[in-house]
Symmetry: D2
């Protein structure tokens, strides 16, 4: 098992737990060597020990300075991502960083620079690229089955809005929610976004409007290769988590529907009744969370490019910034304008 | 328009009306020349004139003896089918006869003999062979896309039982209802039925049981080519007219789902809700009623074999008889036993 | 049959034939009294006579001046629509006019004025409102099943582009093709469009670009009620005629998929293979063409408002003009700007 | 964690590995205390240690006699199931036994008697009851949504036949393969099978016939509650693992389709192309293998009846024996005849 990559996880919150358990259970080519969280509770410590972690600490330095650990997964609060990324890079460790690297572009850039200098791998946690449905569409677009891409169409709607207190610090719908869809659009189009135009509205909850954000948005995109994209977001789809992608091209179209918990249909006097889509993002993207880390480990062990680079993270942020600016100014905004 | 086939329709009830209107509206290669019904009402007469029929009469002889009329569609009551078929054949007219030719095998045989002697075409009204779904499956089985046929699976369920008064004179579920499915099974298997075994029960309405019939039946079939078939019938599917066929073979399976009035799905807090299947057989098989007559006219005008022969009608009846016998005797019955 | 509405059809081209045959075959509450076409061929004359038309002429005046005829269906070339509408109104006849009434807004307005003055009914041929799928969605939005409308999403793609010669005189993709989708969007949103923004590209055929048009377009809409819309059009979907609508609201979403010629799925070693959508618009909207005229006749006979008014036609044109302007100027355009 | 159930697994083959890993990874209310396999290899030992098993041995007695272990999962070769069940019962341990308990009815009966005497829990590994699709159908039948059950229809087809060497010792298609479907039929009908009739054929591979078995079978069932069942089996569905269930009743029908690896559809010039069903049973029933053990543990910890009892196993065997007898004798066979 010399190929075994020893990994440390910084941050033992919801997403840190997911990654830690995935590594411990499903990823034999890695070993969960350590877990650090500055607020580590006794329960978290017991849980971490139960997963077999050797180093369990309140001090991330215990991971950063541990020579056994070759890669770090950064799941701490967003405002610490860039600093940990830089520290990890300086320590010569590969980095898988949850999105976003930071909310400030210059800070992201300096982190990326440090990563480059150190020659370590960096992957950003845009997990949806690894979703079984969306990855299958990408296979079709890559294989040429769809031909030249003409239109990318994404519907991405949450089952319920987060608390307004969260929305206030989230960076807004484009940076917090649609950023995943910008990544998906770029991934599927195989091209960079050059211009965005935003329609936004407060239709779900006026509190969201008072917090300075919108809860419903439709954004159109121009891509460098000439294709057109459109993303619609809503903070509240009462029927569950709605995640659909369609790529239309010169040779056909590939279209992913939602996942449901089962295939059963009940036919009765009234209707034919099927299941709603899976409600919760952790359930919907369960396997994608495993597969993105598997991909990262493969990149590290076999010296490949990571599947979602720091530049991807940066481009997605530019799109989000441009979308916000477009909404504010009521005009299409070129990506160049926000670079 | 020398190719135009002049047709007479005997019987102006529900199905006679369907055929008459279809010819008048949709089948330019034929002309609805005459309509006869021994109980012809003034309303029926007006309707017939409105369709352009030249001969409208209470006496079928007016059609049988009319030299302009080259083919007859027999839609009168079942007990008159054989006699009109014989009379038509003797008059040198081609015959499209609604199923069954008769409920008595010897009478059917003598009608078939007369048809043969006269050298006229005979088609029996097993319209489901012309259904867009089932015809598509047959294309797949014929083209070899399914390979050798191993299993034919048919679900055929009515939305509601007919009146018990009808059931008493209907010949029973096998002769009245499942006979369509025997025809479909033979059509899809491309082979004759050699043995049947019946499970039957009275689960819908005890009155049907008191009338000496069952309302729910599952019949398994052996085919001459080694394939196995299974048909299930119910007199009452609360969600509508359930008509599905599946052919499973060495290279794959072809499967037809029900038709629905529209494709809309409503997703709400409760479920994803779609439309029930079309409820009524005339709606479900609307186009099939046109296409079977088009096929008959083509056989007449271009001297081809008809798509559903008198022998098909006979074989379907043998299967129905054997199914009834199997139910009664609680054992598998070979078709030979009822021949 | 005193309720019988006698109708004249002006123009015996493709769409005039459809309406004439539909009235003759399927609409008992109307009678096809006359057909006029300035280029009437002997074949067209025979066809018109075959449908039972009493007046068959090269001169539309023969219909306009016929006191028996109470309503006219105008299917002549677009440049004559307004004049015939005006003439019909002056003659006191109700008008069903194929879209558009004219390509010039002032001409449309004067036609509408004349119609108003005459107090006759006017319906414009936006047939898709009568489509079984889209009408079902509208039922859901009207009944409140979808709640407040937040997003209307329309994909509308043709199987193949028309000849470039046609495109040159068509008024462009927005006036010729997307105008149907503007109507659908307004119909489903139950609100007027207030602003549009256009992304357009030449991705299908450079000749279309040289003709001054685009062949691929995504247009976002703002509605007066706060909802957001998005329409995507392509002149070429290789898999057939792609016509889908989705309405997303506070209580759920209603979504229509394409129609296919049958429901059969073939499962083999490679895949599960289903039918492509219906290819041709006349097949896809076959019943809608009947139902829009039935609705018109109902409005006339029972003195109701028509389902698609002249004002609807006008609003759709404003949207098309604004979409073209938005594409040209690269900015969102308010409908007011083009009024 | 006093509620934690310590479990031993006997047999470290394919299915023993599944259960062991599931307990170690997904079932926090249990602990994988020991693993025994009489042929234990060094690799298996390392794997068992890696899962945290304290006792890893070639001798099952090390589990049977370990006072810490409260329940045993028996995954050894079929001929040892009954003996281990008896030994476990005598040792006061609860038993989860893979199906079948034995191929000889008397041996099964004496094992069941021993279990009863010892007062321990016994669950048989009919995992499909825990499948997300089939469990959902059962919810519908239990809640009354389907009304009285009239017809249970099961298609169950393997992607490829096992080696003929296996078939020779398998007990035949009814005991080896269809036994799962007998269990499913009884589970869904909520009633016992009283009579079976079998159609069987050798259509996949003549070698299977030479081994004295059939590879294609359709079996109809009578249930004590009057319902009718039908099961079709094939050893080879080229498109993958085909597992569908439908329950039709007085108030409606519940129908489960196959699971596919993703929801993507590719529409191109030829067709609309979707994914084949999941190919492999371990993938198809992945979660069901977890859930059956969770259910067993719940029964043990909370002193409930197990979800699949020894009597269930016995009834399924009777059905399989009767189906074989029916095929051989060409007549319907009552379950009583084989008791």
């Amino acid at each position: 098992m010399s190929n075994n990559l020893k990994i440390g996880v910084i941050g033992a919150g919801r997403i840190g737990k997911i990654h830690s358990e995935n590594i411990a259970r499903f990823i034999p080519q890695a070993k969960l060597e350590g877990i650090a969280d500055i607020m580590l509770s006794p329960e978290q410590e017991a849980w971490a020990r139960g997963l077999g972690a050797q180093v369990v600490s309140k001090d991330p330095k215990d991971l950063l300075e541990n020579p056994e650990i070759k890669a770090l997964i950064i799941c701490s609060s967003t405002d610490t991502h860039a600093d940990f990324t830089i520290a990890a890079a300086k320590a010569g460790k590969h980095v898988f960083c949850e999105k976003p690297v930071d909310v400030s572009i210059p800070k992201v850039m300096s982190a990326l620079e440090e990563v480059k200098k150190a020659g370590v791998k960096l992957q950003i946690g845009f997990n949806r690229r690894f979703d079984h449905n969306f990855a299958r569409i990408r296979e079709y677009t890559k294989s040429g089955a769809v031909g030249d891409v003409h239109i990318v169409r994404i519907s991405s709607r949450d089952p319920a809005p987060p608390p307004v207190s969260y929305i206030k610090v989230s960076g807004g719908i484009f940076m917090d929610m649609m950023i995943h869809d910008f990544d998906m659009a770029r991934f599927q189009a195989g091209s960079e976004i050059t211009e965005v135009f935003t329609n936004g509205a407060v239709l779900v909850d006026p509190e969201i409007g008072r917090a300075g954000d919108v809860d419903t948005a439709v954004v159109t995109l121009k891509f460098a290769n000439g294709a057109i994209g459109v993303i619609d977001n809503s903070r509240k789809a009462v029927y569950g988590y709605d995640q659909r992608v369609e790529v239309f091209g010169s040779k056909g179209a590939a279209q992913a529907e939602n996942d449901a918990p089962n295939t059963v249909k009940l036919s009765n006097e009234t209707a034919v009744i099927g299941e709603k889509p899976l409600y919760f993002f952790l359930e919907r993207y369960k396997q994608a969370y495993v597969d993105e880390v598997v991909s990262f480990i493969d990149a590290v062990l076999n010296n490949k490019d990571t599947a979602v680079t720091g530049e991807d993270g940066l481009e997605n942020m530019y799109a989000a910034l441009a979308a916000g600016k477009s909404l504010k100014e009521g005009r299409p905004v070129k990506i160049e304008e926000v670079k």
